[in-house]
Symmetry: D2
Subunit: 468 residues, 4 copies
């Protein structure tokens, strides 16, 4: 409630600020347009009356149409860029003599007036959230406009500095959290949709559930990223039991396993500024401290690009090596099963599906040579290990459509994190459990597709291959 009080206070203060301003500045209102205000803000007037000008500009901005916003970003792109002449001179100076002094001059010449513009814009109370929203607007614009990329680069540079991990505050989200924050948790949940307040309560309130979020002191009531955790006694192999109402009975035994089953970024305007990795690690530390019985830290994650990859593989548009392709064809094409979801659900096809999934993770690469799966890139890049692939772990519509019902556990072993991270970052090496590796090998050895081809009478041979 304090925070609300603070906000109110702040805005009333800003209000006052405007009232105190010389009437000449805003009296006419429409007279001075947003571009004039922007120029005023980075001029000497901005030094004297920055708070009020910034507030006025932000109020104008909000009322702009999308077209006018685009126009305004273009203005920022072209009018508030570094002075080319001065910069050329400084660059030449450095090329001629790369001294410390020349470097310093170059640094000054290249510092964009736009950066200063945004920094001064932040003078207005509550401005940070509005500047973040500006970048959201910018990112939503059609990207055919190269000039705007420079504006985005400046904003991103600024946010990278402002939203430094050291300034973020970890807060537990629970049933004592204000509703104004909780409704954002409902809105921003990106992995397993929250079905209203009762569902929310199920995820926050029971003794074996946790939720943590990062906040920035200047973005009041606005989580940046949050993670939902279930405290269990085993690594779960399906999302159902995790989301269900826990039984009323107090668990007889203390939990051993923290399961991160949903991580959601909240601020579109902070795209590309990474918080999730810090969040996971700090939550691990927090949980270790609070619940000493916890020994295992693991995710239960979707495989959001798996179904699409399978289709490309089956269609031959993905080069995965012949055996894998044949596997996929076997499953999708040769069976005349137009609906991949039917395959996903069929226990007879569990083995080849799991095998292909292992291939997807361990062998598959995207155009940029990276592991295909973005969630995998996040956790593996974070130092986790691919621990287990779970069949029919998410039978929801979305789960079947995107991940063919599969889910994955990434395991965070604190002793391995640094090693895994470096191996992945430097050599693309993917840390995976023997269990997952064996799925791949199983396929190889069993020559699934080959055998399959020889035996046209499908199902029968398939069960034999299950090895997990």
């Amino acid at each position: 409630m304090n925070v609300a009080f603070l906000q109110e206070l702040l805005s009333s203060v800003a209000e006052q600020g405007r009232l105190l301003l010389p009437r000449s500045l805003f009296g006419a209102g429409a007279e001075e347009d947003i571009e004039a205000l922007a120029l005023a803000l980075i001029s000497g007037r901005g030094e004297a009356s920055g708070v009020a000008i910034a507030r006025e500009l932000l109020d104008r901005y909000v009322q702009l149409s999308q077209d006018d916003r685009r126009k305004f970003f273009r203005f920022l792109a072209t009018e508030l860029k570094p002075d080319p002449e001065r910069l050329t001179a400084a660059a030449r100076g450095y090329v001629d003599n790369p001294s410390d002094v020349a470097l310093s001059l170059l640094q000054k010449a290249i510092d964009s007036p736009r950066l200063e513009f945004f920094r001064r814009l932040n003078l207005a109370p509550g401005a940070t959230a509005e500047i973040v929203a500006m970048r959201r607007d910018l990112l939503r614009l059609p990207i055919d406009d190269a000039a705007l990329a420079a504006v985005d680069a400046d904003l991103r540079r600024l946010f990278y500095s402002w939203f430094n991990r050291g300034f973020l505050v970890l807060r537990r989200i629970d049933w004592h959290t204000p509703a104004v924050v909780l409704e954002k948790i409902i809105r921003y949940e990106a992995v397993h949709e929250i079905q209203g307040w009762d569902d929310l309560r199920r995820r926050l309130d029971p003794a074996d559930r946790r939720c943590f979020a990062f906040f920035h002191p200047s973005l009041v009531d606005e989580p940046l990223v949050f993670v939902e955790v279930a405290l269990m006694r085993d690594i779960p192999d399906a999302i159902g039991p995790v989301l269900e109402e826990p039984s009323g009975d107090e668990p007889a035994k203390p939990p051993t396993t923290a399961v991160f089953y949903s991580i959601s970024n909240c601020q579109e305007g902070l795209k590309g500024i990474s918080f999730g990795n810090f969040l996971l690690k700090q939550v691990v530390e927090e949980l270790v401290r609070e619940v000493p019985s916890l020994k295992t830290f693991v995710t239960l994650s979707p495989i959001p690009r798996f179904a699409a990859w399978m289709e490309r593989v089956a269609a031959g548009s993905e080069d995965v090596g012949e055996p894998a392709q044949l596997d996929a064809q076997l499953l999708l094409d040769r069976l005349n099963m137009s609906d991949a979801i039917e395959v996903a659900k069929n226990p007879d096809f569990k083995a080849p599906l799991m095998s292909l999934a292992a291939h997807y993770f361990l062998v598959g690469r995207d155009n940029l040579g990276r592991t295909v799966d973005p969630v995998a890139r996040f956790h593996l890049g974070n130092g986790a290990r691919l621990e287990r692939i779970n069949w029919m772990a998410d039978p929801s519509e979305k789960g079947l459509r995107d991940s063919l019902g599969l889910m994955v556990n990434y395991l965070y072993d604190l002793k391995e994190i640094e090693r895994n991270h470096e191996a992945f970052a430097n050599a693309g090496t993917i840390a995976a459990s023997r269990n997952v590796r064996s799925l791949l090998k199983a396929r190889g050895k069993a020559k699934v597709p080959a055998e399959a081809e020889e035996t046209p009478a499908l199902p029968p041979p398939l069960p034999a291959k299950t090895s997990s």
Copy 2:
């Protein structure tokens, strides 16, 4: 008390973090020196274990001798600077074709690894204060080392972004403030020394006293800048009554005048990052809101360089035009008064002293062509007006030694602030009241030195010149 709890929590979490780290990293302790840790921090290892490496590095830093700190800053200066080859190439590319793309490449090439180093250092809980202290150490080093200037420039750039006004929080300091903050108010007060807790209470607790400070969310319990205010019914002409115990009687009438009688910057490591101007303006707004009877906002300020300027003038080493110099000589030299303080105290010399003070403000310029007085530069640059010069307003030892007992009122008239600021910033025009201007004219007209010279019998003629 919450904040303390938070700090404790944070540090225990960091502690945990270290314990959880692979022993390889810190096991040997002394094996890996601070430079190796710095390199680790900006490497891939820093991405995986940044929090712990940053914490360890900061702990090592604190134990370094001054010499080793200097060595470490040199290391940062030489080893963590932008790659010259890459930068030269990018600079050349921009010179050849100053396109958006070339600009973007140049920006990336010039971004100093040091900046990233400091940003990652800030991962450790509580690090911000320690990085600010690092810059304090750096600024205290002998400045014969040009290479270190680049390190300072990076830190300053970083702090300029981190300590953006939009992130600062205004808090009232009063008798409900925790002692841990109050003792810092005592320590940091830079204008009129606070003589222990009773004196502090006199300045904070009475109904007609206020104190406000800016805080940064990551610098817990550490004010950045604070201002002390007395609510009065007139513009005071001396500091004595302002600092004295207020009479117990409730003032019959509501205050009309807010007097800012002390502004102190607290963080040596944030030198050059300006907060005072924002503080004053926000405090004005705060007071307007809280005490609607207030109409006048004014300072009572020292003139810290006046005595030194007088000496230079008397010695002829300051070129102030003949009349002013003669005035000064008249006062200091010709009278064989070795002690300027005796002059300051002597009512007979009030008029020429005041006149010279007006000259000091309105005409005097330093080597850089600026108004001599730094306090004047702050308030005039802030949009205030030089309202009044007060004779024998601060008879303390420091007041006599530095300011020859004079004090000045700068008046903040909200309707003038922007105009004054721009005139001062663009043309060096000094906003001053007619009263102050007349002091200067008085001298002119009265031709003080001339008359003085004609009449060898001093004192007598002087009284005639008093005009204020």
Copy 3:
């Protein structure tokens, strides 16, 4: 979140306390039953180990069956009452010589050991809420047991002291309030049911809505009583527009009228301890301070006993004077309208219905000679004035069933409150607007029933009587 932390801390401390206790006390667990614990608590052992004994006793109590609870209350009634012999002696002593000393001895003799028992029970952290719940249990028991009345009287006496208005804290309930409190607002709302979280938000979050509650420092997260307020520009004549989603448009003009449209007591166990009157007055003060444009403070209230009264009147079982009875018969009986609700909805019967309602308020009396309506007793006793009766103001099922669709505005005129209260308290005088009085007169003058009887063709004559 702090509060939750505190609670956790407190309960862990209590936990500790128990662990630290000599095993002899609770080791056997089942050995010592709740009555033994109660005796221990008021003995010397209770002085030494009160916190732990109280905690244990409360834990046992919660697990008792309803029968065992009743047994336990009987135990308190019979075993922990004042010592009859000592009391008889003291009473006789006072009768013989009513001195100060005799009075003091009598006071000591009459002080019930039960009171001390409950006071010591309150030593356990969080006990207050549990003792309040005990009284709830007690009140729910069949009331055929006279002995239990003394237990209730003691609890009530205790709560009257503990829940003194001076200890209650007014808190605004809004969208920043923790969900754990908000869900109780949903649950406890007793007048106009809240249909889930969206409805709740409609009542709390818009700029022209307020909700305030009283809390007791020892009943964390538990409102005692709350009131919902709509800020409007007129006195509303129906509940519909008050509960509807406000239009998105910011109201052009500031609100003039605060409408209290729902007051709900939350704690069954605090029955008979009155907070609502203090709440209303403090909320008025709060609103005056926050929204200076407010001039009128008014309720929109149900008439919960009106329909039942009408039935009794129509049935002749309520002695209301002949004219009123005939009116009622006319409406309900003679028309062969078995369904009073049909009458309520029919505009043709508006006038006689309103007239009867005026009779209900101004003339009707219950068995105890009081104004029939409990809500009226509350507001009139509070110093309000019966301002207006509104036809078809609450067409909900409950509104029609209980109040025949009517609602009432009670107006709080601060200048009248004390006078109204005293007139009502001393003489039963009901403050009512001329408007309401005229409804009664209208009936009298128009002789509704008489005319009605003469003119079998109903409707026609009725319109003539409308006066509102």
Copy 4:
């Protein structure tokens, strides 16, 4: 700072309340005197406008002279007592037939209007502290007025209910505590005077120091009782090292012993309402939780009545049995040492002094048959054990004057507390260590005075007398 804000809010609300009141009530101000206000408060007017009347009455009260206060208390004593006729009737009714109903009627008749008066007085914001101050004023009046005892009894009864342990909040006092509270710690410290803020900091801020206080939610910024604790590795035998600046070196080993070296009650007006016992126990639990290495909980306490007792013994005015008296005479009288303090300091007399101290504790009784020492009564009654008597443990002036330099350790052994308490409460049995008991015996055996004095006559009788 929140609390201050709250207070401000509350008082502004009360202010409002008064403004809103009918002018008739307070317009003339002097017209209605405090007695009239008191009568108004318990009348129907008090029900309607209680908050404002209570506020006005309290404001009047503060301005009364001591004489007028006394007059006002007499008014309360005589005018607001239970109606004698009604009470006599009810008492007679109970004597005739001691039924539940008669008991209930008697309870109602005896309930003092004064209690209701004070309860309504508490309606005014901030009133609780003022009512507590009222009782302080009352207790300070000369006690020759028996009628006032009834007023005190009512206040005490009220406070006993209001300040129930269950409503008190334990807060740690440290360097993060607001100055407004800390200055009260300095003021209220009753055992070892705090010499200004530096001394305070020494007691609160070091890592091995703790201070805890009980607060009541309605007495903001006002501690009720506080205890200072040093965390050490041994039971200290002198106060000096406890109060000294701790060495800067972090203690190598974790503390094992919590030493309560000062407990101070803060509120004179709450005399007789006991908090200290609860405070000690809760602090023990708090410390056990926070510092698991602590195993021993012990006090270092003065013996405030020892010197006076010695004098009485030496003078023969205290009947202690012949041997003890001779001992005392030996020390004080026969040696012609008029100054007991010289005896206290003299190592030669350590043994008999210690022996006499043991006698003082274990054998000595006051007029009421109680252990002489009030501090001993508190700790022994609390379940502690007399662990050790320390010679020359407090060489301060006060320490020598009151306790002849001796100090005592009372040890809280959680396993013994209940047993010790009951033995002390029921049988006056004093729990003491063998060490202390042996002092008493030693006195006999050691033949102290004989050796000391060459007087052969002495020793013999002594041994015989030991063993009591």
